[in-house]
Amino acid sequence: MLTVQDVTCARGGIPVLSGINFEVAAVQALILRGPNGIGKTTLLRTLAGLQPALAGKITHPEDEAAYASHADGIKTALTVEENLKFWAEVYGNPIPESIWQAFDLADLQHRIAGTLSAGQKRRLGLARLGVVGRKVLFLDEPTVSLDGFSVRLFADWLQNTHLAAGGVAVIATHIDLGIDAPELELTPFRVASDKDGAADEAFL
């Protein structure tokens, strides 16, 4: 469903990862591993189409991708429900009733998002993925600031709701999510920082 062929991605014009190849079939997830600064976020942003790949080809069904960044994109002046409703409307979907249970937001539904704790905000940010109705998810450290219970909640949702319905997910994370998925270590794809051509790119 998602095919990545020989992709080189760059941060600020400088290539950081090159020659990345992988394929993720439906009902599968792929976990990206690697130390800080290796380029996990850069790769995910490239996959999501926020920046072009320097080389290579990324194929996935059109209009089926959604991206979740480090930042949750939550408007602190709106309520939890209004935040979700906005994204539901942008993607043209109704909010599934099950979402409140799946992310343990039922009690917070009418709270102003600015009064939530960091972990609650993160749950709200992740709940957005449940209303977008997209099959291909690119998740950048989705479990930051979540407690163990919420991590399990999220892993459950990912496994039993998203993946089970034929979805795909590429997840950059440092922890063990507890879902059955192959891992891809990014260190071998690292581009040496003083490689020829890199400096020229940076000046452009």
Binding site: R45, A48, G49, L50, Q51, P52, D63, A65, A66, Y67, A68, S69, H70, A71, D72, G73, I74, K75, T76, A77, L78, E82, F86, W87, E89, V90, Y91, G92, R128, V132
Partner: protein
């Protein structure tokens, strides 16, 4: 697009949203000018069209840097860029929301303030019409400027320097329409040009804004 428009309007109305800030600024400028100039009604009525338009320009400028900066900081701009809503549509929605929160209120309030600047009675109609036709261009041009400076810390000053020169045509024809109206001359030419500038801005700038945002999001 409608969803984004409503969200932005709702955010503007909530605490800290800044709705009415531009309007309050406009009111203060228009109130301060007669105090500074003194009780010379003839001079005041001569400079009134220019003052109204300059005050509108500055009021519009006041809230420009919030258009994209807040969404950029909390990450929702990147999420919007990957959503099915095209960035061109997002830019248009942002400009319209900005106009509804700044341009529209001051268009409505301006005629009520005409007496403070001893505006000629014949000119009220033209003041209303010129602001109605011209202020949308201010919001659209400003949205483009906001997209140019979105990733910069303290981009507000740079934004003013970029945007104010682009406001010149709107200022010239806007003030000219009111001046001609006050003198009982035919103001239709200036009003038509004002409308043309606005229409041109809305035809071109959403695309330029979206292209700029894409580059800034890389």
């Amino acid at each position: 697009m409608i969803a984004l428009l409503w969200r932005d309007l709702r955010l503007a109305m909530r605490a800290g949203g800044g709705f009415g800030l531009g309007l309050a600024f406009f009111l203060i400028v228009v109130v301060l000018v007669p105090l500074g100039v003194g009780p010379q009604t003839e001079l005041l009525s001569r400079i009134a069209p220019g003052i109204f338009w300059i005050a509108s320009l500055l009021a519009a400028l006041l809230s420009l840097d919030r258009i994209f900066a807040l969404d950029f900081d909390d990450g929702s701009l990147a999420l919007l860029a990957t959503s099915p809503l095209p960035l061109e549509g997002a830019a248009l929605a942002k400009a319209i929301a900005h106009w509804i929160t700044t341009g529209l209120p001051l268009t409505i309030v301006a005629p009520a303030l005409g007496f403070l600047l001893a505006l000629a009675p014949e000119a009220y109609k033209y003041l209303l019409m010129s602001l109605l036709l011209g202020t949308p261009a201010l919001s659209m041009i400003g949205t483009f400027g906001a997209a140019l400076t979105v990733g910069l810390r303290r981009g507000g000053l740079l934004l003013s320097l970029l945007v104010l020169p682009l406001y010149v045509p709107t200022l010239i024809y806007g003030a000219e329409a009111v001046r001609r109206g006050a003198q009982g001359l035919d103001a239709s030419g200036a009003l038509i040009l004002l409308g043309v500038i606005t229409a041109g801005c809305f035809a071109v700038l959403p695309f330029a804004t979206a292209a700029t945002l894409r580059i800034n999001l890389r």
